[in-house]
C-alpha cells in the first residue's frame, strides 16, 4: 500500500506552512485562489524560498504572510509597503512581495503605496480587492463601488471608488495588471512575470467576498460571482489604466503597464559607485 500521507500531500505543500491550516478565510473567498496562484508561480519559477520575504498588513488577506513557508511579516494596518521598503533596501538580495487587501493598501496605507511606487522600490505588490473590509464585518472602503451596501453605508455608498490600476500607473509603477480570481492561469503568469521584473510591480486581483460583501449586495453564492466574472471580464492588454474601470457591467482585466525604469536600489548603488570611484 502506498504511503497515504505522501499520496495526499498537496504538490505545493512545500511552499506552505501546512501546520497552520485550516486557514481563516470563508468558504468561497478568493484569497485562497490568490495564495494558490502565488505559490504556483513560485513553484514554476523554482524560487529560492530562503531569499523570499512576504509582507502583509491587517485584514483577511493580511493573514496570508503566515501561510507561506518563507520569512514573513504580518505588520501593522496599512504599513506593509513601508516595512517592505526597509527590508528590500537593507538586503537587496531578498525578493520582497507584499500581499494585502484593498483597505489595508489603499485607505490607511495609501500614502505608502504611492510613495513606494514613485521611488520605484523593487517589490511586487498583490492586492486582493474584495471591495470592502471583510474581517471587521463588511464596512465600506476605498474601492467600494458607488451605491453599494456595506455596514457603514446602509443607504448605499456615496463615495467614489479608486481605480487601483490607474492610481498605480500614475504613481509610477513599472508593471500594472488586473485579473479576477477566475483567471487562475493568467494571474499565475502575471505573478511570475512581476516577480522576475525589477522595480515596483502592482497586480490587482478582483476577488469575491460572498459571506460579507456579496451577501449584503445579493450577489448570490461565490460560484455565481465567478460566473459573473466570466460574463463581464474583458481582457485588454495595454489598455489605458485610466479607462480600465470596474463597473457592474464590465471588469477590464489584463496587463496595462510594462515599462523599464531604474529602481531606487539601482540608483543608490550607482551613486555609491560614483562616490567611491578612485
Amino acid at each position: 500500500m502506498t504511503n497515504l500521507q505522501e499520496f495526499e500531500r498537496h504538490p505545493l505543500a512545500n511552499y506552505l506552512r501546512v501546520e497552520r491550516f485550516p486557514h481563516i478565510w470563508c468558504e468561497g473567498c478568493g484569497n485562497g485562489i490568490i495564495l494558490h496562484c502565488f505559490v504556483k508561480a513560485l513553484d514554476e519559477l523554482g524560487a529560492n524560498m530562503d531569499k523570499l520575504v512576504v509582507v502583509s498588513g491587517i485584514g483577511c488577506m493580511g493573514r496570508v504572510a503566515g501561510y507561506i513557508q518563507c520569512d514573513s511579516f504580518h505588520t501593522t494596518h496599512g504599513r506593509p509597503i513601508a516595512l517592505a521598503t526597509g527590508i528590500k533596501l537593507a538586503n537587496p538580495q531578498l525578493t520582497v512581495a507584499v500581499i494585502s487587501g484593498d483597505g489595508d493598501l489603499f485607505a490607511i496605507g495609501g500614502n505608502h503605496f504611492i510613495h513606494a511606487a514613485r521611488r520605484n522600490v523593487d517589490m511586487t505588490v498583490i492586492c486582493s480587492n474584495n471591495f470592502n473590509y471583510g474581517m471587521t464585518g463588511g464596512q465600506c472602503g476605498p474601492t467600494t463601488p458607488l451605491l453599494s451596501y456595506t455596514t457603514t453605508t446602509p443607504y448605499g455608498n456615496i463615495e467614489h471608488p479608486f481605480n487601483l490600476v490607474h492610481l498605480a500607473a500614475a504613481s509610477g509603477a513599472v508593471h500594472v495588471a488586473r485579473w479576477t480570481v477566475l483567471h487562475v492561469k493568467r494571474l499565475t503568469e502575471s505573478i511570475k512575470k512581476a516577480l522576475q521584473k525589477r522595480g515596483f510591480k502592482f497586480i490587482e486581483v478582483v476577488s469575491p467576498c460572498p459571506e460579507i460583501y456579496g451577501r449584503r449586495n445579493k450577489f448570490g453564492k461565490a460560484i455565481d460571482t465567478m460566473k459573473r466574472y466570466r460574463e463581464i471580464a474583458e481582457i485588454r492588454h495595454g489598455y489605458a489604466p485610466s479607462k480600465a474601470e470596474i463597473t457592474s457591467e464590465k471588469i477590464v482585466v489584463g496587463e496595462f503597464i510594462d515599462i523599464e525604469k531604474p529602481t531606487y536600489g539601482e540608483l543608490l548603488q550607482g551613486q555609491f559607485m560614483r562616490f567611491n570611484k578612485g
Partner: protein
C-alpha cells in the same frame, strides 16, 4: 555594497548634538537610517544622508514618520542595525510601530529630540515633554529603555549605548534628548574604532528545523534569525506563541508573552540603569535631574555647597527603566529632593512614587527657556530650610 569609507570619525570635533548622535550611530554599526524632516532633529537625517553613502550604509527619506518607523523595523529584520530620528509630532506618529517593534522584539533605535508641545508647539525650542510618551505612548503593557544625554559627548556615547542595549534586549531603545542638547555645539572626542564597544544581536545556534523563533534564553531574550538566513521566521504584531504564530484568544499565551516582554527589561534593570552622582556622599538636599537641567543643577549644587548647604546631584542617564533603587536608597538618607524638569511634571511623579515620605520639591520650566543655576539654587535653599 562594500565598506570603503570611515564609519568612525576618530578625533576631536566641534559639532552639535544632532551631528554627534548621527556619528555615534554610525560608530555603533548603524547601516540603515529612515527619517522624515522635523525640527530640531533634522540635522541627524542630513548628516546621515551625507555620510552613510561613504561606506555603503542606507539613508532613505520616507513619506512620513509612520513609514520611517516601519522601514527601520523591516531593515532590522533584514539584518541591519537601524535608526530613525524625530521630535514630538513625529514621535507621536511613530508610536504605532514602536508598539510593533516591542511586540516583534525588533532591535532598533529611535531618537527623539524633544521640543515643546502639545501638537506643533514650539518647533525650535527644547523641552522634556515626551518622557511619559516614551514610556506609555503606544497602546498595551510594555517596558522600554530610554537614555537622556546632557552633552554633545553624550549624544555620541549614549547613541552607541542605545544600539548596544537594543541589540542585547531586542527592544526599541530611545535616545530621549531635549532640543537644547540636540542643538548645542560642543567638543566631542571620538575614540578609535577598536576602542568602541559594540554589541551584536544573539543569533540562533541551532539549525532551522530546530529553531523556535520566540523561545527565550535564560535572560528572557530569544536569539534572532534574520530574513534571508534560511530560518523562515514568521513575525506578527498579533499575540503569538514561541513559534511566532498567532494565538490571540488564549489568555495564557498573552500572559506569558507580555510578562516576558516586560520582564526582559525589568529583570535586567540593574544591568541597564546608569546614573551619575555628584557630591552625594553627605548630601542632605539632592537634585534629581536629566538632560539639559542637570547641567544647571551642577552649578546650583556648587553654589549651595558654597552657601554651606549639603547639596548633591543624582543625574539620570537612564530614564527608563526608572532608577527606582537609586532614588529609593537616596530618599532613605536625605532630607529632601529637588526635581527640575522642562515639563509640567513627568519624572517628578516617579520620584514622588519611589521617595514616599521624603519631601520632593518640583521646579517645572516650560516655554523653551532652560533652568538657570540660580533658579535651582533658590529651590535647594528653600528645601534645606524646610
Amino acid at each position: 555594497m562594500a565598506e570603503k569609507g570611515r564609519t568612525v570619525l576618530t578625533g576631536v570635533h566641534f559639532v552639535n548634538g544632532d551631528v554627534a548622535c548621527a556619528e555615534g550611530a554610525m560608530a555603533a554599526g548603524c547601516r540603515f537610517f529612515a527619517g522624515y524632516p522635523i525640527t530640531p532633529a533634522t540635522e541627524i537625517a542630513e548628516r546621515m544622508a551625507r555620510r552613510m553613502i561613504e561606506f555603503g550604509g542606507i539613508f532613505v527619506q520616507m513619506e512620513d514618520e509612520l513609514a520611517s518607523m516601519a522601514a527601520i523595523i523591516g531593515a532590522s529584520w533584514a539584518g541591519a542595525k537601524s535608526m530613525t530620528a524625530t521630535s514630538g509630532p513625529g514621535f507621536s506618529l511613530m508610536q504605532e510601530n514602536i508598539g510593533l517593534a516591542i511586540m516583534t522584539e525588533t532591535p532598533c533605535v529611535v531618537v527623539d529630540i524633544m521640543r515643546g508641545g502639545p501638537s506643533t508647539g514650539q518647533p525650535t525650542e527644547g523641552a522634556q515633554q515626551d518622557v511619559m510618551q516614551a514610556k506609555w505612548g503606544s497602546h498595551g503593557d510594555y517596558e522600554i529603555i530610554a537614555l537622556a544625554p546632557s552633552s554633545v559627548q553624550e549624544m555620541f556615547d549614549l547613541t552607541i549605548e542605545c544600539f548596544n542595549l537594543a541589540e542585547t534586549y531586542r527592544a526599541p531603545t530611545f535616545l530621549l534628548a531635549d532640543g537644547f542638547t540636540g542643538h548645542l555645539w560642543e567638543r566631542v572626542v571620538i575614540p578609535r574604532a577598536e576602542e568602541i564597544k559594540t554589541v551584536e544581536r544573539k543569533k540562533p545556534s541551532v539549525a532551522p528545523d530546530k529553531y523556535i523563533p520566540f523561545k527565550p534564553d535564560e535572560d528572557l531574550v530569544p536569539p534572532m534569525a534574520c530574513f534571508g538566513e534560511g530560518y523562515h521566521v514568521h513575525v506578527t504584531g498579533l499575540t503569538h506563541d514561541e513559534r511566532g504564530y498567532p494565538k490571540t484568544v488564549d489568555p495564557k499565551v498573552q500572559y506569558e508573552l507580555v510578562k516576558r516582554l516586560c520582564g526582559k527589561i525589568r529583570r535586567n534593570a540593574d544591568k541597564i540603569i546608569r546614573t551619575y552622582e555628584f557630591m552625594l556622599e553627605d548630601a542632605e538636599v539632592v537634585v534629581i535631574a536629566y538632560g539639559i537641567p542637570s547641567r544647571a543643577s551642577v552649578g546650583a549644587v556648587k553654589r549651595a555647597r558654597e552657601a554651606g548647604i549639603k547639596a548633591g546631584l543624582l543625574r539620570l542617564v537612564t530614564v527608563w527603566p526608572f532608577p527606582e533603587k537609586q532614588v529609593e536608597e537616596l530618599s532613605n538618607r536625605v532630607k529632601s529632593m529637588v526635581v527640575p524638569e522642562m515639563n509640567c511634571g513627568q519624572v517628578v511623579k516617579e520620584v514622588e512614587r519611589v521617595a514616599k515620605e521624603t519631601p520632593v520639591h518640583f521646579l517645572p520650566k516650560i516655554g523653551g527657556e532652560p533652568h538657570s543655576p540660580s533658579e535651582i539654587f533658590e529651590v535647594i535653599r528653600r528645601a534645606a530650610k524646610a
